[in-house]
Each structure stands twice: as C-alpha cells, then as structure tokens.
C-alpha cells in the first residue's frame, strides 16, 4: 500500500427544468398528483402519438449553456435511446447524442481557497422516465407516468475533479447558476438534481486514465461524498490485489453504504441511438442566442460585489444570502420596500436560518414574502412591537406568510405606550423586589435586569424594554 493514488472524477448531472409542461406534450409537470393523472397518449407511449417540443425547454437549456460558457450547437437534433424498462413508456428515451444543444463549457470552482476550472463536455436535453413503486401485496411493480416526459438537461463534465470536495463545489456551483437562472429548483433530495459519478483511480503521476465506473442513485451531498470514498477504495483494493476494474454501472445503496453492479444479462447497454424522425432539427440563430443572453440574471459573483458596495453588510452575511437565489431575492425585495439592509440581513441570518434548520428546510423552500418581512421591520422600527414580540410574529410570517400588521392588531401584541400603566408596573416591581433594588443602588447595574424582567412579565411582554429601563432608572434615582 505504498503507492499513492489519484482519484479522477467526472459527473453526469441531470437537472429537471422548471417548465409548466412536459418536454413533448401539454401535460403538467406539477409534483404530487395522484398516479397517472398528469399523463396523455404522448407521455404514456400510446401507438400513433407524436412528440412536439416545448420551446421553453430549449430556451432554458440554452440559458444554462450560456451561463456555463458553452458553445451553443446551431443545428441540434434529438435522438432515440432504445432500451426496455417499464418506466420508459416507448421503450426509447428521446435524448440527444449526436448533436447536443451545448458543448465545451467550463465553470470555476473554489476549494480551500484554491480555484480551478471544471470543463463541461456537453449539455443535452432529454425526457425523464416514469416512477416505479414496489407493491408488496402482489410482489409486483406499479408504474406511474406522471414524471414521464418531464424535461431534463444532462450536464456532462470532463473528468476534471480529483476529490469529493471538488465534486461538491462543482455541484454547488451548478446549483447556484441554475437556480439564479430560474431554470430549476435543483433539489437533490427530491430528485430535481441528480448526479451520476464517473470515477477512476490512477497512480499519482500516471498519464493514462484508469478504467472508470459509473455510480448512480446518489440523493445527497453526503451520499456523493461517501460513494466517492467507497468507490475509490474499492478500485484501489482491486488494483492492489492484482485484479482489474470492470467498466460498469453501479448503484449506490445509501443505507448499506456500498454499491453494486446494475448490469444484468438482459441489459446489453447497447442503446442503438439514431436521430428521432418524429422531431425536426432545431436551428438556433445568433439573434435567438442574444435574446437569451440578454435575459440572463445577475449571477452570484456579480451580486456579491454589488452587495459589498451598496449595502455595507459583512462578507459572511453576503456569502450566506447570495448562496440562495431565494434569500437574495427576499433580501433585495425587502430593501426595495424601504427596510435597512443591515436589519434585513439580520432577520435572514439569524431567525430565518434558525427556523430553516429547525424545520429541515432549504432556503429555496421559503414561503414568506419580502412584503411581510418589510412590514415586520417597520413595526419594530416604529417601536410598535418590541424585539421579542417581533420574533414571535416572525415565526408566523415564516410559517404562513401572515400580514404582521394585521396579526399584531388581532392578537393585541402592540407595545403598551400607556405611561400610567408602565409606572404602576414599575412601582410594583420595585416594591416587590427589595433585594434587587438594594443591589442596584449598591452599584450592581445587572440587578436592574431582574426588575425589567418583572415589569415585562407584568405587562405581558408588550412593553418596550427601553422605556421600562428608563422608567425604572427614573424611579430609583
């Protein structure tokens, strides 16, 4: 085991495009319908049905290609990939082999301060398969074609990555670009972003690549990291023991933390690609490319620079906020509604992050609107509510996007600005806590806190802590 090995990794990343309809028919792509309720003769492979291409798919694929520095193929075509499986209704998948829409791109990644490029070999468009569910009662499988025909792009990288960290940095980079474009929500756990890992090992310094395997079914960054480590070790073990790595497709089992070969006798992996005669070629003009390019949004790096300049918030905050298109959108929209950048950033960095973590959610899952966050900040600024009440109200904003003004009114949460009531409460607190009063007068500033707490309690939290503080000091003079 004295030899040192290098891991060589390329990725095939499938991304479900956020279109309203499927790639070749007018069925909805919405999640969560009852089985087969989003299907038609086209996406269930009925005889005589024909595909017609959704223009939005081409435009989204082009947008991703431009954002990843690809060349757009001016004359691209669809090909049929032939293989039998029940989730594949025609038993061929419409995909692109010979003339994919994008080629020769690259994205920059950064791992531990070191920057490098990962080259993109190609991006092609294709249709998703249906879903198979095992039915334990009849020991058979049930096919649901709701996902059949949902548009995908497959982003194929060159074998440019050397570690799991680089792989994850690359995936994060793709995710951000695609989310910023609005081309997909890119959720690994829900399958709207899926990565297959092509991996080989070679001795450090070797020029030739080793034999590679492809590992599928990786549903999280953790699974990807584990599968990479596992496959690297498996291949090194084989080489060290004088055996050969077999070029094959393996399936990762994340609960058992190992992979196994997928190939069976009935699976020849000979897909007999040929141009689909049912679809006509796509001709992409300079004008069309420019039109798509002109609609490209401000990407993360540009946003970071601008935030630094415009908003004077810490770099750490900028990094977190721009790491999600959703957060960045809320941030900018809330500021546009008049809130101070630092205050918005605080709400996002502290309370929002806490609630996301507690609810095991991604920033992309955020439901609340900038409008209601802006209103909440305004209520605090106007001292209509105090900080604690604001946090409580925000929990409801976060969960249900309620209108904070209406909510505060309805639940009587506004700060009580009645001087008389406040004075009475303060006097009662002083009278009932002689020890704290003594301590305070003896110079212990902290003792005042206990008195404030008593007053807040008496006021049911609806007092402004600053006013309470001031009133107590007056009375204790």
């Amino acid at each position: 085991m004295s030899k040192a090995y290098e891991t060589v990794i390329g990725l095939e990343v499938h991304v479900e495009l956020a279109t309203r309809t499927k790639i070749f028919c007018g069925c909805s792509t919405a999640f969560g319908g009852a089985p087969n309720t989003h299907t038609c003769p086209v996406c269930t492979g009925m005889p005589g049905s024909l595909p017609v291409l959704n223009k939005a798919v081409v435009e989204k694929a082009m947008a991703v290609g431009l954002a990843t520095n690809c060349n757009i193929t001016r004359n691209c075509k669809f090909d049929r990939k032939n293989y039998f499986y029940p989730d594949n209704p025609q038993n061929y998948q419409i995909s692109q082999l010979y003339y994919p829409i994008c080629r020769d791109g690259k994205v920059e990644i950064e791992v531990e301060g070191k920057k490098k490029f990962v080259r993109i070999h190609e991006i092609h468009m294709e249709e998703d398969a249906g879903k198979l569910v095992h039915d334990p009662y009849t020991d058979s499988s049930l096919v649901d074609f709701n996902r059949s025909g949902v548009p995908l792009i497959e982003i194929v990288s060159e074998p440019d990555m050397r570690s799991a960290d680089e792989v994850i940095a690359y995936l994060e980079k793709l995710r951000l670009i695609i989310q910023y474009l609005g081309a997909s929500d890119c959720k690994l756990n829900e399958g709207s972003m899926r990565a297959d890992v092509n991996l080989s090992v070679r001795e450090v310094g070797a020029e030739e690549f080793g034999t590679r395997t492809e590992t599928k079914n990786l549903n999280s960054f953790k699974a990807i990291a584990r599968a990479i480590e596992n496959e690297r070790e498996r291949q090194i073990d084989l080489i060290e023991s004088g055996e050969k790595v077999v070029q094959e497709t393996r399936r990762w089992d994340d609960t058992k933390e190992y992979s196994y070969p997928m190939r069976s006798k009935e699976d020849a992996q000979d897909y007999r690609y040929f141009p689909d005669p049912d679809l006509v070629p796509i001709h992409i003009s300079d004008e069309w490319i420019e039109e798509i390019r002109s609609k490209q949004p401000e990407f993360r790096d540009e946003k970071r620079a601008r935030y630094r300049e415009e908003y004077q918030i810490p770099d750490y905050d900028i990094d977190i906020i721009t790491n999600s298109k959703k957060l960045a959108d809320i941030f900018e929209d809330t500021i546009a509604l008049g809130a101070a950048p630092k205050k918005v950033s605080n709400w996002l960095m502290v309370e929002t992050m806490r609630l996301l973590k507690e609810n095991v959610m991604d920033p992309e899952d955020i439901k609340f609107t900038a409008k209601n966050l802006a209103k909440l900040i305004k209520l605090v600024d106007a001292r209509t509510i105090n900080g604690n009440v604001a946090k409580e109200v925000f929990e409801h904003v976060f969960a249900e996007d309620i209108d904070p003004e209406a909510y505060v009114k309805e639940h009587g949460l506004a700060t009580v600005n009645d001087e008389g009531a406040l004075k009475t409460a303060c006097e009662a607190a002083i009278a009932g806590n002689s020890k704290a009063v003594e301590d305070y007068k003896g110079g212990k500033e902290k003792a005042l806190g206990a008195l404030v707490g008593q007053v807040m309690k008496a006021m049911k939290g609806k007092a402004d802590p600053g006013s309470v503080n001031q009133m107590l000091r007056e009375l204790l003079k």
Partner: protein, 95 residues
C-alpha cells in the same frame, strides 16, 4: 456476412424477442442474406455525402409551454393488461 448464434441471441436481447431453435436458424439465414444484399450500398462512394436523417429542411417546430392536458387516467388505463391503484402493473423490477 455470417450470422452466428451469439449475434442472434444478442439481437434477441436488444429487440426483446425469443426465438425457437427453428426460428433462430431461419433468422440467421434471413439476416445473413439481407445483410449480404444491402451490402450493395458499399459500392456507393459516399465520402462527401452528408447523412440525410430529415428529408426536407424544416426546423424549429415548437409548442408553447402551456398546460393543455387534463386528467385522462381513466381513459388511458382502459387498455392496460393489468392495473392497480391507478398504475400499470408489471412484474417486479426490484430485488
């Protein structure tokens, strides 16, 4: 071109066809004859000819991204050989 048993078996896997011994012999002969016959194309010089997958130069036929289909499950499942819970039922695909 001679077609071997292995080739016929391999094509049978690709095409999902199971041939009897007799059919297999016939298939070997038919395919061999046919490949010899279509081999005539090798006489043609096609070095500078572009493969013509689409006969006419039409391109860019698109749909707009608008939902036009509703729930047609009941109709579509009418022809299913086996159905369960609104799904097409097939022999198990999981181990």
């Amino acid at each position: 071109m001679t077609i071997t048993d292995e080739t016929i078996d391999y094509v049978g896997i690709l095409a999902k066809l199971e041939l009897s011994a007799e059919e297999k012999e016939q298939a070997k002969k038919d395919m061999s004859d046919m490949l010899d016959y279509v081999g005539k194309l090798n006489e043609l010089d096609t070095d500078n000819v572009e493969a013509m997958s689409h006969t006419f130069p039409y391109n860019n036929v698109f749909r707009e991204d608008v939902v036009t289909n509703g729930d047609d499950r009941e109709n579509l499942l009418k022809n299913a050989p086996e159905e369960k819970d609104g799904c097409y039922k097939v022999p198990k695909t999981f181990d």
